[in-house]
Symmetry: C2
């Protein structure tokens, strides 16, 4: 099958039009009528760097490519709109493989209201997926940047952390699996391989008045530092408040690692870290409850100054050496 | 130097804001206020497939990545707006290399009024550049798709063709170089390595009433077939009217190839093929003259039916076997 035939077959599976799409895939460009402000982000995953074939099926890999891109829109409080996909395909990817990748992307696209509006197909030495996503809001000021946190704000976190890093440990060293029941191990591996973008939570936090927001791709400490720098503030995080994913403590212990360090330095949880005026916490919790996607946990405070400090329950601080990034 | 430091250095070189950019690179997403309709296209170039390091310097490679993406916007008659760049970097790309790639992109971005508004940096086994471009127009109907050509329309072409294919022959086989003066050989190689998106010409043709348009990436015959299929028409092209780039005939002859076949099947010229009501040719020629980018040549007609026919001066037709795609 030639490139054009394959493209035509893949295109047939894309939706004809979305709410803002005047012309979908198949012409020189897709045409949309955004009507308001757009947030645009690009994200790429590369075989051997961000994933390994064999660890996950192709549908899951396709889903992760779209999920990590959409996570950036979640962190803006955006409504997901369109996605454009560059697929670099190695020579051993057969027609079924293309369809499986698209299966995964369409699966998540449907669940999040995203329209795959265009793409490009090329040969590449390893499987490479670069995804551009466009999100929407009525006006630019409706988006939540990393830069608006103010001293006195609370720091809140969606969901649980450390799961993706523990999942990576389990994938790298299967001998650690007996440390947790198989159901828990499977959930940890899924946190690594099949993350969920927190789009509904991001919009709930934006509507509740979040002043700054970022998604956790590099790890809590690294991403908190990005937010602190962009806002020109310091952040205090209470280690005792951090919601660790179930099984993280056991897997970390079995692997000879400190669970707290794994959780704060481990990337790819794709939860949202937000700053919020203290009086907005009730509203934010209610809206997060309504979004029914994750729980919301207050984990610290915004203060004047700079940097990120992780305070231990005993009164000390986590040393900087614990902050080493863990992940790709 | 770490990834974040390098990213910060590269970001410093991007413009703070463009006419529609509310927030540029550095947050989870770039924020724009499109105000009208957008045309979005993605295009990737991969080392070893679309280019070879060594044939061109990194600035030229960066420029080509943006140029091939912008060419799709030219084919819509769009005004160039924003670009988002995924850079997959092999381990031997040093800091100077990143800056050189960006030099080339910024060079073309300035010349075309494009703002590089965001990007992603990742490791990759070979140099990979995936570029998403967003173009603008007041309304969706201002864009020219591939699908509006009607029987009776003229078929017009910007610039000259065959140059990129002849340049590829010269790059692959330096022994052909004596077939043309070195200045001409250099220009042919540049057609292959450093194409120019015909943005001003595309807008001129759109404003003159073009009914359908496509850019020549796959080659005249292949791209004409896309336009014919999308419009539900047939196309007749007069081979005697085709404007071949200077030196194509000589290089083709030296390489044992038919110049006409090379020109119609050779890809990557990135000229524009458009259908136009016959009475709009004068207006289109004047506007193309004003755009001062390329010349406009009538090369055939749109008729009822299907397919693409290339009529030879003697009265015959070019056989289908001559249409084989030449290029990546």
């Amino acid at each position: 099958m030639g490139e054009f035939e394959l493209l035509a077959k893949l295109r047939e599976r894309l939706p004809e039009a979305g709410p803002r799409i005047a012309l979908g895939s198949g012409d020189d460009a897709a045409v949309t009528v955004p009507g308001g402000a757009t947030a645009t982000s690009v994200d790429a995953i590369v075989e051997g760097i961000h994933f390994r074939r064999g660890e996950a099926d192709l549908a899951t890999i396709g889903r992760k490519a779209l999920a990590t891109a959409l996570s950036d829109l979640a962190a803006m409080g955006a409504e997901a709109g369109e996605a454009y996909v560059v697929l670099g395909a190695p020579s051993d990817l057969d027609e079924d493989g293309f369809h499986a990748l698209l299966d995964g992307m369409l699966d998540l696209a449907r669940a999040t209201g995203t329209a795959i509006a265009g793409g490009d197909l090329t040969r590449a030495p390893v499987l490479t997926l670069a995804v551009t996503v466009v999100g929407h809001a009525p006006a630019p000021s409706d988006f939540v940047t990393r830069g608006g946190a103010a001293p006195g704000d609370l720091l809140v976190l969606t969901g649980v952390i450390g799961g993706a890093a523990a999942g990576r440990l389990l994938l790298d060293d299967p001998s650690l699996a007996p440390a947790v029941p198989e159901g828990a191990a499977a959930r940890l591996r899924a946190r690594q391989l099949d993350p969920s973008p927190r789009l509904r939570s991001g919009r709930a936090l934006a509507q509740a008045g979040a002043t700054a927001m970022i998604d956790l791709s590099d790890g809590l400490v690294g991403d908190a530092a990005h937010l602190a720098r962009a806002s020109g503030v310091g952040l205090e995080i209470e280690a005792g408040s951090l919601p660790l994913a179930k099984g993280v403590a056991e897997v970390a212990a079995a692997g000879g690692r400190d669970p707290l360090r794994l959780a704060v330095a481990g990337g790819e949880d794709y939860e949202l870290l937000a700053a919020l005026p203290a009086d907005a916490l009730g509203e934010a919790s209610l809206r997060i409850g309504e979004a029914a996607e994750t729980a919301l946990t207050p984990i610290g405070r915004v203060k004047a100054g700079a940097g990120v400090e992780i305070r231990l329950p005993g009164g000390g601080r986590l040393e900087a050496a614990g902050y080493d990034h863990f992940g790709p």
